[in-house]
């Protein structure tokens, strides 16, 4: 057992934190959000040469040659700074391409200034493969339009496959959507569009677990940053002539938030560690998702509550964490979905789910 991150891992986290702190401060984010599009190409151009956008890919595939744990630490910082870049989708799409098509093709996809997008959604996904062409509809693809390629699931007969499309291909059309976190999303309509199959349902499940864990690590960053803001606030704010953090009712609510944070972090870290060792780490991933939903909801509610009106003021950074906590909570289906999947997993193989 070793519950500490290595020096290298801490350095990677610190590098990500520094870059995001320097380039994605609250004022910068406000300006970007005022423009209506929460996508920062300049920041993306900083992250790419720093080697932070393809961490878990082999160096021969254009990556950093590290593991999913290291990627998780960068996702955590992404959350902590609510950074407006397509980092998670890009990293996961690159992992899928490398797994399906090998290092060379992945490396060629990672060249240039663009990004890759990724969705693993099956619910509400009507995309079908027919004779090597793609038709149907899939919504809420993050940073899909404008990307270099989109990795997505589609059905053929009763079976799901993982596929890749070029977003500007003939037969594809996009309608812009905006998520609660103000992230650009796209509703994709496909009408007999060219498509390439990357893998079968097992590969889709492989990718979906990693995407879920990535969102959990980002949630760790979101919740941790919100808790930090709340901590600073209750140590400063005075009412009735004393710091409000000295009221036991406030302090205990904060302590419960801290405990939730401890558990969320533990569950999410255990998930990314497991994914580095196992193809299938569903028990760890679904547990982390359940914690991401519960802790995200509870801690942000507490953080906003102790802030009073300030927690709703768009000139104060907390609101961003509030919407992104909900974003990451719901991104993979929320608590009900996590427990449903975890319960199925336990029922399928109870011996593997002993404690």
């Amino acid at each position: 057992m070793n519950f500490a991150w290595s020096e290298l891992q801490l350095e990677i986290r610190a590098l990500a934190a520094q870059l995001l702190r320097d380039h994605a401060g609250p004022e910068h984010l406000s300006a970007l959000e005022a423009s209506g599009k929460r996508l920062d190409r300049q920041l993306w151009a900083e992250l790419k040469p720093a080697g932070l956008t393809a961490i878990p890919l082999p160096e021969t595939a254009g990556g950093a040659g590290l593991g999913f744990q290291e990627a998780g630490l960068v996702f955590e910082q992404l959350g902590a700074h609510v950074a407006p870049v397509p980092l998670i989708g890009h990293t996961l799409a690159a992992m899928a391409l490398q797994r399906a098509s090998g290092d060379e093709l992945a490396a060629s996809q990672l060249e240039g200034e663009g990004w890759l997008a990724c969705s693993t959604r099956r619910e509400g996904n009507t995309l079908r493969l027919d004779d090597g062409r793609l038709s149907g509809q899939l919504g809420a693809i993050a940073h899909g339009e404008g990307s270099d390629a989109v990795v997505l699931p589609a059905r053929q007969g009763d079976d799901w496959f993982l596929c890749v499309v070029k977003p500007g291909a003939v037969g594809l059309s996009w309608q812009g959507q905006v998520s609660t976190g103000l992230e650009p999303r796209g509703l994709l309509q496909a009408d007999s569009a060219p498509v390439e199959i990357l893998g079968d349902a097992a590969m889709l499940a492989w990718l979906e677990q990693r995407q879920a864990a990535a969102h959990c690590m980002a949630q760790v960053g979101v919740v941790g940053a919100a808790l930090q803001l709340a901590r600073e606030h209750v140590c400063e704010r005075e009412q009735f002539g004393v710091k409000i953090g000295s009221f036991q009712a406030v302090a205990h609510r904060m302590a419960d938030a801290w405990t939730d944070m401890m558990n969320l972090r533990m569950a999410a870290e255990a998930a990314v560690v497991a994914l580095d060792r196992q193809e299938d780490a569903e028990l760890a991933v679904r547990s982390a998702q359940a914690w991401s939903a519960e802790a995200g909801h509870r801690v942000l509610a507490s953080a906003q509550h102790v802030h009073g009106g300030l927690g709703h003021d768009k000139d104060y950074p907390l609101w961003r964490y509030a919407v992104w906590a909900r974003q990451y909570e719901m991104e993979s289906g929320g608590l009900g979905h996590a427990l449903e999947q975890l319960g199925r997993c336990i029922a399928r193989d109870p011996e593997a789910a002993l404690l």
Partner: protein, 396 residues
């Protein structure tokens, strides 16, 4: 990062788990199921304790110079997780907390007399801190000890002195200082009081969880000064050290893990009204998933705590958070496990049709004790706020 035990630690766990299956004979289980024997004290329980002692399992984490096996906190934690999983009521406070306090603070005569007996499974020590007017505010305790030559003379009353009815000694917190010059925690001392001493008596307090605790009375009880643990009026230091050592034993998920396993087994072998196996129903799957996700995180947090103790980096706030969360998780998980069992889950042991030998029926009754045992959770939340978050000290 690596959240798993090493191969050696896993081997130790497997060896000890197999060993405990041998210890937990049907006769011993029957004895432990008798009224008021749930915490041990019966002849077969004493025999099992001596057996574990002679087989070298007690004091696994004690240093070799005390007669232990010299393992670290992680192995010690494995031991506790497996004993609780096996269902043996084990006097952890004696072996994991008071024993080390005696080794560190007691006079050589007491140390040399008692440590071998603790290791042999022959000695139980009860803790006498709480008083009718001093619970969480322990520093308000009133039981007094006056020095009289080579002895202390103790007068007072304690409450919830658990295990006193089967114990050989009480690890007693008393006031030795003048309350004017040495108020509250400054005037406290720890005395080791033999339960055979003249003037010591107890009356039982029967608890909702089929347990027995005690009110203990000290009427001019004389104990030799060598029974002083630590220095006179410096007992607070001994108490806080003891409470810190208690960390590994509090909120151990061993029992909950076993009951979860048995609940899963039940769900695999039982059908609902429509003929479906319980474990195939979304309702039961969701309940089991909720229990798993909570207990798994508790298990990881406890293991991380043992690892942090081994590294010398245990954080006060982390330890308190495990205490707070462990209690909340137990309350919620036992409730959800009972829900899996359905209405028959609340049938008592011995009733025809009782499920899991009535274990969940029993444990949900006793589990609320964890909300305050080992330091009430309100104090733990104060500690998290103060040390984890750096908030100004809360008003009490």
């Amino acid at each position: 990062m690596d959240v798993d035990f090493s191969p050696e630690q896993r081997a130790l766990r497997d060896e000890f788990r197999a060993y405990m299956r041998g210890i937990m004979t049907p006769d011993l289980r029957e004895e432990l199921a008798q009224p008021l024997a749930t915490e041990g004290g019966g002849p077969l329980w004493r025999q099992a304790m001596r057996q574990m002692g002679s087989d070298g399992w007690i004091g696994l984490g004690w240093p070799r110079e005390w007669g232990g096996r010299g393992y670290g906190p992680i192995e010690q934690y494995i031991f506790i997780e497996e004993v609780t999983r096996a269902g043996l009521p084990f006097p952890y406070l004696t072996t994991e907390s008071i024993g080390p306090a005696i080794a560190e603070f007691a006079s050589p005569a007491i140390r040399d007399a008692l440590l071998p007996k603790i290791l042999a499974g022959e000695l139980v020590v009860a803790i006498g801190y709480s008083e009718p007017h001093a619970g969480t505010d322990m520093a308000a305790l009133r039981t007094r000890a006056e020095r009289d030559g080579d002895h202390y003379v103790i007068n007072g009353q304690k409450v919830y002195t658990s295990l006193a009815h089967i114990a050989d000694y009480v690890f007693l917190a008393v006031r030795t200082g003048d309350p004017e010059t040495l108020p509250r925690h400054k005037g406290l001392s720890i005395l080791l009081v033999p339960t055979s001493a003249e003037g010591f008596s107890f009356t039982p307090i029967y608890t909702v969880g089929d347990g027995e605790t005690n009110a203990t009375y000290y009427d001019n009880v004389r104990v030799p000064v060598e029974n002083l643990i630590g220095e006179e009026n410096r007992g607070w230091q001994v108490v806080t050290g003891q409470l810190n050592r208690e960390r590994l034993t509090l909120m151990n998920p061993g029992t909950a893990n076993l009951l979860y396993q048995q609940t899963v087994e039940h769900a695999r072998n039982t059908r609902d009204g429509s003929g479906a196996l319980l474990i195939e129903t979304p309702r039961v799957q969701r309940l089991l998933a909720s229990v798993y996700s909570q207990l798994r995180v508790l298990q990881l947090a406890c293991r991380k705590q043992a690892w942090a103790i081994a590294q010398g980096t245990l954080d006060v706030a982390d330890a308190s958070a495990i205490k707070v969360y462990g209690y909340e998780a137990f309350l919620d998980c036992y409730r959800q496990m009972l829900e899996v069992l359905g209405p028959d889950g609340v049938l008592k042991r011995g009733s025809p049709g009782a499920l899991l030998q009535g274990q969940l029926e029993l444990i949900y009754r006793s589990v609320p004790v964890y909300g305050f045992a080992g330091g009430t959770n309100e104090i733990q939340r104060d500690l998290i706020a103060q040390f984890g978050l750096g908030l100004p000290r809360a008003k009490r």
